[in-house]
């Protein structure tokens, strides 16, 4: 594509195409968006984050990420659509404009670029990172079990060949460590939404313990509003609740760590599943999926703006 206007949002793209999109978006909108490299992947690929900002220094911020799990292609594709949506809506949509006038938005479209590239070149079903595990012929770690929150407890696997292998130690994956370092050094991130597919869920901490999050009542109410708004577009039904009560016990997850690190509005989403395709959601459903997901995201972002802490 020669511009982000002619970019096709209704097809899946390779990592190179997504990186080209990122560069185009930044070139077209230098006053609103910039590209930050927060680190390099295990195989040396850049970990690119888009920063949407209207100015200020170290403003309170919202973090969005898509694509920790390589094969969940609709998440990366939705991330691309979100990036364009933010650009289009700033100055046009009252809610998004108000958010960006006070807060920055960080968006990491491809958290696991090695895995994503591998899912295009070699194995469409690849989920994990591509790091080599000492003493095992099996490659990769589940980056959503590698965070320092209940690391290694039930709800993850110590078997390097398992799809939920937690890794040798917390933050062993450079892709995880890069986000941890970024979040810690920023110090002013107020909401964190990590996006997966597919089970149609909006979840909040915890996954590693049945203990209630201190803010559970508020997180639950906000999740309900977000899900109601999401469903209003195409009637897609979502469930919501804590990770452990809604889906299953999962330790070392992203949002358990962010919540324990003081980011109150910590959520993870599982995007659309029509019941027929799972991870192989047809490309024609990318835009509808992104559109409905955006309604939940804007709800959480708007709430974050209006309920500072």
């Amino acid at each position: 594509a020669s511009s982000t206007d002619t970019f096709n949002y209704a097809t899946y793209h390779t990592l190179e195409e997504i990186n080209q999109f990122i560069d185009l978006l930044v070139a077209e909108n230098p006053n609103l968006v910039s590209k930050i490299q927060i680190g390099s992947s295990y195989e040396g690929r850049p970990l690119n984050v888009l920063k949407f900002s209207t100015g200020g220094t170290n403003r309170p911020a919202i973090w969005l990420d898509t694509g920790i799990h390589a094969r969940e292609w609709v998440t990366h594709a939705s991330g691309v659509w979100f990036a364009k949506k933010i650009i289009e809506d700033y100055g046009q949509d009252e809610t998004l404009t108000a958010i960006l006038d006070s807060l920055d938005i960080f968006l990491e479209i491809v958290v696991n670029p090695d895995g994503y590239a591998y899912s295009h070149s070699s194995n469409r079903m690849w989920r994990k990172t591509r790091s080599i595990n000492a003493g095992s012929s099996c490659v990769g770690v589940d980056a959503n079990r590698n965070w320092d929150a209940g690391f290694g407890l039930s709800g993850s696997s110590s078997d390097p060949c398992s799809e939920t292998y937690h890794g040798e130690y917390a933050n062993s994956e450079v892709e995880v460590q890069a986000i941890v370092d970024f979040v810690n050094s920023h110090g002013n991130i107020k909401a964190f939404v990590s996006i997966h597919s597919y089970s149609q869920l909006l979840l909040y901490p915890y996954g590693y313990t049945t203990a209630r999050a201190a803010d559970q009542a508020e997180l639950h109410e906000l999740a309900k509003t977000a899900v109601d708004n999401l469903s209003s577009l195409y009637g897609t039904e979502y469930e919501y609740g804590s990770i452990i009560t809604t889906i299953y016990e999962a330790s070392g997850t992203t949002v358990d760590w962010t919540y324990n690190s003081g980011i109150k509005y910590s959520y993870t989403m599982e995007l659309r599943d029509t019941g027929f395709y799972g991870f192989l959601l047809p490309a024609k459903q990318i835009v509808p999926t992104a559109q409905e997901t955006w309604l939940a995201l804007i709800t959480i972002m708007d709430y974050t703006l209006k309920h500072p802490y």
């Binding site: 097809t11 079903m125 799809e163 597919y198 019941g275 395709y277």
Partner: protein, 94 residues
């Protein structure tokens, strides 16, 4: 590229906690090389498993002999992947 010809994705509906537990047993049978797209959690949640061709019969027999309901969510994974690739290639050539 990895070939997924003949791989099926089964959607399993466990009727109760006992059946969920039974499906969990499948996770330990490494030789079947099952890929849990959506793992066993509780009876109301469907369980989706990608089953390689050589294991399809064994898994179906296991489910049927335990009275666990299932349907075939994806008949042949590779067919869908081929369609996905064609769509991407068509977009690029256009």
């Amino acid at each position: 590229k990895e070939d997924f010809s003949g791989h099926q994705v089964l959607r399993i509906s466990a009727a109760d906690e006992a059946q969920v537990k039974k499906v969990r047993e499948l996770e330990d049978l490494k030789h079947l090389q099952l890929d849990f797209w959506r793992g066993p959690s509780r009876p109301s949640m469907p369980i989706d498993i990608r089953v390689p061709f050589p294991s399809v019969q064994a898994v179906k027999v296991f489910l049927e002999s335990n009275g666990i309901k299932y349907s075939i969510m994806i008949e042949d994974v590779q067919t869908l992947l081929d369609e996905e690739q064609e769509q991407m290639l068509a977009f690029r050539s256009r």
